[in-house]
Symmetry: C2
């Protein structure tokens, strides 16, 4: 069985020509597959989802950082989503023939290479965190690039794991790590009142009493005259997509605000889709084995 690791790389740009350039530059790397690209102008972010083995992902990540170091100036970046760098987050997720240990090793290896080659501060997060306080991405990104720049050489908790304690002029910082499959799920609200999105996010977020494995923030969608509850489901089996959606709808009702719809950024595991169909169609026993394509993949 081929070794497959998934990497949903978060870039602090929504410029489609730049994303296209990046995809073109890495598309000839053998064993690599660009599975999805998704850009959002309000977030001013893009997610490029790659599938491949260790070697091809290492080459792809280094190439992406190289291009970003020339093309994305984090100090001039504006956007609704917290970020500390041009190549903001590089997660590795085990998928097939590999385990979490493999992904941690890959994160450490590639992170070290990036730090040395580009003189950029690098943080290891998630399962690859070297310090407990770096396990949680939102802690590393607290206050964004702007605050990190101030604190990086002053507050011990914010010292990088490798690389200089000084933000890179273009790249800022890089966060790299290993984690299980994450679902990036956003729900849009038909109001311009950001406070409503923030209040609902607080109700959803595990940290503030919501669903344990949900990270949630309120975000302004200026281009759409709307606001958004932007969520990461860190364990979609335990805190599910339908739960977050239904809870956002219930909270929105309380504020008399209409939910216009959801969006999934990047890829979603088949198991999560089966769970959604099972819930909404009332089929508790629906299983992944009933999906035709599931059988073709190992045919």
């Amino acid at each position: 069985m081929k070794r497959v690791i998934q990497s949903a790389i978060n870039l602090s740009t929504s410029e489609s020509s730049l994303v296209e350039k990046i995809v073109k530059e890495i598309s000839n790397i053998s064993g690599l597959k660009v599975a999805d690209c998704s850009s959002d102008s309000d977030h001013n972010r893009s997610v490029v989802t790659l599938l491949g083995g260790e070697e091809s992902l290492e080459r792809a990540v280094l190439k992406i950082v190289e291009i970003a170091a020339q093309e994305i100036d984090i100090s001039r970046h504006r956007g609704e989503h917290p970020r500390v760098g041009a190549v903001d987050v590089i997660p590795f997720t085990p998928w097939q023939g590999v385990d979490m240990e493999d992904c941690k090793k890959l994160a450490w290896k590639v992170g070290k290479e990036i730090a040395e080659e580009f003189s950029v501060p690098v943080y290891f997060y998630g399962e690859a965190a070297l310090r407990e306080e770096h396990r949680d991405l939102s802690h590393i990104r607290r206050g964004g690039y702007e605050l990190l720049k101030e604190e990086i050489d002053k507050v011990p908790e914010r010292y990088p794991d490798v690389g200089p304690a000084k933000v890179h002029p273009m790249l800022g910082a890089v966060v790299i790590g290993a984690r299980g499959p994450l679902v990036a799920f956003n729900v849009n609200l038909k109001t311009q009142d950001l406070e409503v999105a923030k209040k609902i996010a607080r109700k959803l977020r595990g940290e503030t009493g919501g669903l344990s494995y949900v990270k949630a923030i309120g975000v302004n969608l200026k281009s759409k005259d709307m606001v958004q509850v932007s969520m990461n489901l860190l364990d979609f089996r335990k805190s599910t997509i339908y739960q977050t959606f239904e809870l956002v709808k219930l909270e929105a009702k309380r504020w008399g605000v209409e939910v216009t719809g959801g969006e999934i950024i990047g890829l979603v595991p088949l198991e999560a889709l089966v769970d959604i169909a099972s819930f909404y169609l009332g089929i508790p026993e629906l299983s992944i084995g009933q999906v035709l394509e599931y059988h073709l993949s190992d045919y």
Copy 2:
């Protein structure tokens, strides 16, 4: 690319030991995969879903008919679902590297072999129909085995396409053909009033003004003290799963009857699941390319 045809074989038994025996007997056929088995005691039917190339499916089907000729006596069969034979329906559906023509040819070849080897009347249906009036499965099964037995040598429309114009003592008749992917979707209602299920089925059925590609009947679920709207979605892209589910719910409301849930018999294409998630989560742009496993299958 490997040639893959899907065949969801409908058997007039719900005896699990017999279904297990059948699966065991065909499990060593090279190139064949038993993707799913599903039995229902109220319908007194089982669906065994196979994936494979022409040769392996031909061998599997002949073996199944051979076992059924010894083990399933259609003349003593009781069940809620219309049927004319022990091996009631054998559909072939193109999936990968094959087209509908290949499936039609396979149906004709295997149908002829079954008729000759077992002296059983065989009907070709769906895309493999030789006569327009046999295209529709429900026309062939009208009145079930009992009526077919009476009419098979008297009513020209009911003459078989191959084999004798006389039902087989055990097998009854066999219907074999080619069709696109079908979704077998049932919705259960918390009432014992079969008339309600029948009325709702009439509202759903394309023939009587409902959704064009939906076949629907009302069925008694004695073991559950419930009734069921049992549906076949002949084109799940045009008449979708969520449409049928929501329409059944709306009709049920009118009768003050609770919908307890749905069930999917056999396999469901990934595209149908994406459609369900897209509808219920309000994500119009959700695509099959966002499902991780979709990329692994051709990786």
